[in-house]
């Protein structure tokens, strides 16, 4: 299994993407809340972002020519892996402060681990990333550990 993740790929563990600065918009919160069938007025009105709003808000926004044939953007802090098909794996989030329209947040994603696994239909790589979101003033908003499964 060790050949599944090359030494070169392994050397990327600990690498971070450039921090992303994001302005939180009420309109985006409202759209997200409708698409996820929220039931609370504060979310539907865009007064506060639902807990998982930041997951979407922080997906990479890159020019079209940086999207792969599957549609997915290459991310600067992730190595090239021998498995190409991607699925969501799950997440662990810790919340420190609600996200509201007008917030200006700084988010940093880091490659935390690459874990080889044997699935029932073949080899898998679990790509574990960490996300840290702060205000511009350095107040911690959200921490997340996310797993994506390459198969």
């Amino acid at each position: 299994m060790s050949e599944l993740i090359s030494a070169e790929a392994r050397s990327w563990i600990g690498r971070s993407a450039e921090p992303v600065r994001i302005e939180i918009s009420r309109t985006d919160i409202k759209k997200y809340s409708i698409a996820t069938e929220q039931q609370q007025e504060k979310f539907l009105n865009g007064d506060e972002a639902p807990s998982m709003f930041m997951f979407g808000a922080l997906r990479p926004v890159v020019p079209m020519d940086q999207l792969g044939p599957d549609g997915i953007a290459a991310e600067s802090f992730l190595p090239d892996l021998p498995l190409k098909r991607v699925m969501a794996g799950g997440t662990e989030m810790t919340f420190h402060r609600p996200v509201k329209p007008g917030d200006v947040l700084i988010a940093t994603k880091t490659l935390h681990d690459l874990i080889p696994k044997e699935g029932k239909s073949g080899p898998l790589i679990f790509v574990v990333t960490k996300l840290r979101v702060e205000t511009e003033g350095g107040e911690l908003v959200l921490e997340e550990q996310q797993t994506r499964i390459f198969r």
Partner: protein, 142 residues
């Protein structure tokens, strides 16, 4: 859709209490809007030919994080304004596909009345009753 969420009172809940269940049936339109707002161009959520022929799924894939959000809403709607969410996690164990109706729900697993902390276990089940997305959350009552 009611604006007031009643919320919970720690003196009135017990370990084992069920959180309200809810059903979710994604459509092409709802998946399009979700993937548009999260800026997700992954073709397995809208291009059926690609999804079945190249990525070998049986159909259009319901996003794992969308199920995560539905799971999240089980606890957020249950606690209402009575608490804040401290931690939340879930794991996508099995994929689900357009056309499936999923059921979200959960139950109380621990109560620390002095600290004002309640732990809950959450699930999304498919029509066969299999838990495809389990999760847990911790609520801090305010």
């Amino acid at each position: 859709m009611s604006g007031k969420m009643s919320g919970i009172n720690i003196s009135e809940i017990s370990v084992g209490d069920a959180l309200p269940e809810r059903q979710h049936t994604a459509t092409n339109v709802s998946l399009f809007l979700y993937n548009a707002i999260i800026w997700n161009p992954h073709r397995i959520h809208y291009d059926e030919t690609y999804t079945t022929q190249v990525e070998k799924h049986p159909g259009i894939v319901i996003d794992g994080p969308l199920q995560g959000d539905w799971l999240n809403q089980v606890v957020v709607n249950w606690m209402g304004e009575a608490g804040t969410l401290a931690t939340f996690n879930y794991s996508n164990r099995r994929a689900s596909y357009l056309g499936e109706t999923l059921t979200s729900g959960g139950s109380v697993t621990a109560i620390d009345a002095d600290a004002g902390i309640v732990d809950v276990e959450l699930f999304i089940k498919n029509a066969a009753g299999e838990v495809i997305t389990p999760g847990t959350a911790q609520v801090r009552l305010t």
